[in-house]
């Protein structure tokens, strides 16, 4: 078992029973997630195709933290084929997106997903540049590129975006070494988005309005978070490419592996 106190949550909507199932380490954790979670009504008509992988994920979380290699392996991807982009410069988004469009053209199976992939990567990049280093720095969107770059260097390692493509799925992820992501805040903002209240917060320029995460969530089939407060954050999105993009939107799972206590 992992030595430190960790929280982990798995959720999956069940169409037939109209309820959301949680697995947690203990009852209090379960209740925490239930209270903090956004409306799960969007889960209710979704049945996850990834259910078979949940047991494996749960076993893993009990003993070791989730990481990129484990997720790639679980979905049958080869780590060596994973495309990784180091986020060293706040101005490199266009070059990353250009490369992603090239990859989309190379792999015919993901061509029809190109716009979604680029939007997800765009949102992840924006989070890594403006939100991840925001550990009391109050980073404004109007900061100069030089200033933004100086924030990127504050973590022990540069943040990364990764993209992996297999016959059946796409895995897109982002890792940062700031560990500033707060599950509580994230869920609160997503709740605003699902309840149509994001617009009320558009004038607030500090942090996002939850819209970015909502845009990401809507485009993926699996949404996995690992949070190690003040140390590390990972978001990993799974997209099923075996079915047509606009017809397949039936499921989305939300998995969180959180260590120690939440950031406030």
């Amino acid at each position: 078992m992992r030595k430190h106190k960790e929280k982990f949550y798995l959720s999956q909507g069940n169409c037939a029973e109209k309820k959301t199932v949680f697995w947690g380490e203990d009852g209090s954790e379960e209740n925490f997630f239930r209270e903090q979670s956004f409306s799960f009504s969007h889960f209710l008509n979704k049945s996850s195709r990834f259910f078979s992988k949940y047991t494996t994920i749960l076993q893993r979380i009990k003993t070791r933290p989730l990481n990129r290699e484990f997720i790639l392996n679980l979905w049958g991807h080869k780590a060596e084929d994973c495309h990784t982009f180091l986020v060293e410069d706040s101005q490199q988004k266009s070059s990353i997106l250009q490369r992603v469009y090239e990859l989309s053209a190379e792999y015919k199976k993901i061509k029809i997903h190109a716009d979604d992939i680029c939007l997800i990567i765009d949102e992840l990049f924006t989070n890594l540049v403006y939100n991840a280093p925001n550990t009391g720095n109050n980073i404004s969107r109007k900061e100069t590129p030089e200033k933004l770059n100086s924030y990127l260097k504050l973590a022990p390692k540069y943040s990364q975006i990764f993209l992996s493509i297999s016959e059946n799925s796409l895995i897109i992820g982002a890792e940062d070494y700031f560990g500033s992501l707060s599950l509580k805040k994230l869920l609160h903002k997503m709740k605003l988005s699902f309840s149509g209240q994001s617009e009320d917060h558009f004038s607030d320029l500090s942090g996002g309005a939850g819209l970015g995460m909502r845009l990401i969530y809507d485009r993926c089939d699996g949404f996995i978070l690992r949070i190690n407060p003040k140390k590390y954050g990972m978001i990993c999105l799974i997209i099923d490419i075996t079915k047509r993009k606009n017809i397949k939107k039936v499921s989305s799972s939300f998995i969180v592996d959180q260590e120690e206590k939440d950031n406030e």
Partner: protein, 150 residues
Amino acid sequence: MISLKVNKQSTLLAINVEGSIDEDASLPSLDFSGISHICFDFKELKLINSCGIRDWVNWLKAFPTSLKIEYTQCPPILIDQINMISGLLPQGGIVSSFYVPYFSEKEDDVVLQLFNKGQEVPEEIALPSGETVELDVIPEKYFKFLKQAA
């Protein structure tokens, strides 16, 4: 990077939106004197992200409320967001034309077809090549904006 090509024609302000609406988009102050109608053409829109949506909605809030706002040639990337964020198409605004994705089995790709508001959107259409392609959206979800704009 966004590019707005503004063309004033009598009481109409026609604006072609090209590129990406994102955190780098600089949305200008517009001169509305003598203008009663503003028409945005989104044919060349490549991407709109969450920062862009937020800036766009805030930008529109500064427009005179009497202004007629029209969106034309809206690609799916914009329609998806209009369906999710009510303020992206301001109250009273209309989407006069929009692209609808159809799936080509032969090409294993999506073909976009332009429709005008009020025009029937068939489940299947025949391409000039003779291939029949199938509607690639969930109608209740994709055409939600038509109800909003009604």
